[in-house]
């Protein structure tokens, strides 16, 4: 089912015409209203009128995460503060938070994009949607909530935390759709098991998971354990929140992007050159319709690739593949670039490994060391020492073969790796601690 049939199946030609019109208006708006962009355009020697086709996009300056922090909190707003109806902010674990503002129309557009996303994932107004993303400054909770209501579904605003109670609500209210981070879905599943609730006995049939990178291996694990379909949703608070991209249930192969509201490019993170369609690089987003805080060529740091070939679901929008890593939280271990998601893939493809792991990077002398803690669950456990050692060696060898780094695999007890109610703490970098 398609929520906005006209827009989501628009022929590419018509879509691009719409994008160009919106891009030109966006340039006029930011040049007139945002001092930061006026200065950046002037420094690049660009006037809004120079944008004659979508191919001219590369002439425009980039926006970095640091630019948001430098203008904390409201320095990039393009509308008078009275027109802003909501503020969200990222967690800001490193330095200042980055803030996002929304006008009434921004909120309405977001709700529509989220409703489109839920429908693409296979939900409809007949569903009961349990929203376990955090409600608050984080965009996950309210973003999913407004979209679920816009869709017309019954919306249950549970937010994060109180995991055991959540498992009971999930059963008692008969939710059919669960929205949360993939790692929290597993936490919830475990809590339910402990409370004697089997997900397979519940009407739950669909999960819309996002806000952190995950792999197909983790998807298979979730789908088989919980007996549901697990759909990947993409978004980031800087440009909106969840709903920037969504996998369709028909193909489950890449997230359809909301191209009427955003322009997407893939660049080489080092040279900043735009790469041809299909190449892997950093995703860059321009917000076409955002009123309160529009961004030009925002560097997401997410490494991915786009596919423009038609999809069997009928949507004509480009699809974005799973985020393979981040151009900034990439680990460099003894000169080798390592994305935590690569290690996760290896672990999940190794027979019996649980999805609970943690990468610990330390520096001993001048040498970086990588320890991988893996929780030993019943599937993995053996009463024979040698079998456990063989498993550790196998993981170590696969990592060496694929990534070229030597890692020490440490088997640890279940639940000994810190669980978070929201995002999993996958990396512990102690090199500068």
């Amino acid at each position: 089912m398609i929520f906005d049939m006209d827009i989501e199946t628009l022929p590419r030609e018509d879509l691009e015409a719409l994008q160009l019109k919106r891009l030109q208006r966006l340039c006029d708006r930011v040049y007139a209203n945002v001092a930061f962009y006026r200065k950046a355009f002037d420094e690049a020697g660009i006037k809004p009128g120079d944008i004659q086709s979508l191919k001219d996009l590369h002439l425009l300056p980039f926006t970095e995460k640091q630019d948001l922090r430098n203008h904390y909190p409201f320095g990039l707003f393009a509308v008078p503060k009275d027109n802003v109806v909501r503020i969200h902010a990222s967690s800001g674990t490193t330095g200042k938070a980055s803030v996002a503002g929304y006008t009434q129309r921004d909120i309405a557009n977001w709700a529509t994009m989220m409703a489109r996303s839920l429908m693409a994932a296979g939900a409809s107004r007949r569903d009961i949607i349990h929203v376990a993303y955090g409600y608050g400054l984080f965009t996950g909770g309210l973003g999913a909530h407004y979209g679920a209501e816009r869709l017309g579904a019954t919306t249950i605003p549970v937010s994060g935390g109180g995991t055991r109670r959540q498992a009971m609500l999930l059963r008692d209210f008969g939710a059919t759709v669960l929205c949360c981070t993939p790692s929290y879905a597993l936490v919830l599943y475990e809590a339910a098991q402990e409370a004697g609730i089997d997900f397979k006995d519940l009407p739950l049939r669909l999960g819309v998971f996002g806000a952190e990178p995950w792999t197909d291996g983790m998807r298979r694990e979730i789908e088989s354990k919980m007996g549901i379909k697990a759909i990947d949703i993409y978004g980031l608070s800087e440009v909106m929140g969840p709903g920037v991209g969504i996998e369709c249930v028909e193909a489950q192969n890449g997230a359809h992007l909301q191209e009427d509201h955003f322009l997407f490019e893939i660049i080489d993170p080092n040279t900043k050159e735009v790469l041809p369609p299909g190449e892997t690089g950093e995703l860059v987003i321009t917000t076409l319709t955002k009123e309160a805080q529009p961004l030009i060529r925002y560097r997401t740091r997410d490494i991915t690739r786009l596919d423009y070939t038609p999809c069997k679901c009928g949507r004509t929008t480009a699809r974005m593949f799973r985020v393979q890593g981040r151009s900034d939280d990439m680990l460099i271990i003894r000169g080798v670039n390592v994305f935590p998601s690569q290690i996760e893939s290896i672990l999940l493809e190794t027979e019996g490994c649980s999805p609970y792991y943690q990468l610990v990077v330390k520096r001993e002398g001048n040498l970086d060391t990588l320890d991988i803690k893996v929780e030993v669950d019943e599937k993995l456990f053996s009463d024979e020492i040698k079998k456990l050692q063989i498993l550790g060696n196998k993981i170590q060898k696969t990592i060496k073969d694929f990534l070229g780094v030597t890692a020490q695999v440490k088997l640890v007890e279940p639940r000994s790796i810190e669980r978070s109610e929201g995002k999993a703490k996958r990396i512990l970098d102690l090199r500068n601690a």
């Binding site: 019943e378 009463d383 024979e384 020492i385 440490k410 640890v412 279940p414």
Partner: protein, 143 residues
Amino acid sequence: MKAEQISIFLENRAGRLEEVTRVLAEAGISIRALSLADTSDFGILRLIVSDHEKAKKALKEHGFTVGRNAVVAVEVSDAPGGLHAVLHLLCGNGINVEYMYAFVHQREKSAVIIFRFDRTDQAIELLQKHKIPIIPGDTLYNI
């Protein structure tokens, strides 16, 4: 003729073993025999207990990873050459011992060896054929 052994994954951290014995004590379970195998990072505790179902449940509730394995308890005479005779027989028939541990029977003048074999069924068959006494699980749990 098999006996049930439970095995527990333990990280090499202070107090983990004590936690296991506390859980078992609180559940009213007696330990009949045990062996601890360890590496620099982790250990595996193997136990023969009075009630393995109950022990496994209690340990799992406390977050331990618990496995269950079939072992064979063999009674050997507490005299020089007693164990050797058994091992000689097994070795000659190509049956490997993954690990083993022993305790001395208090009432009888004999020792009990707990064996984990690579081929448990064949080992039992061979031992029975040669009239080597095997202690059934139900007797072992109440020894």
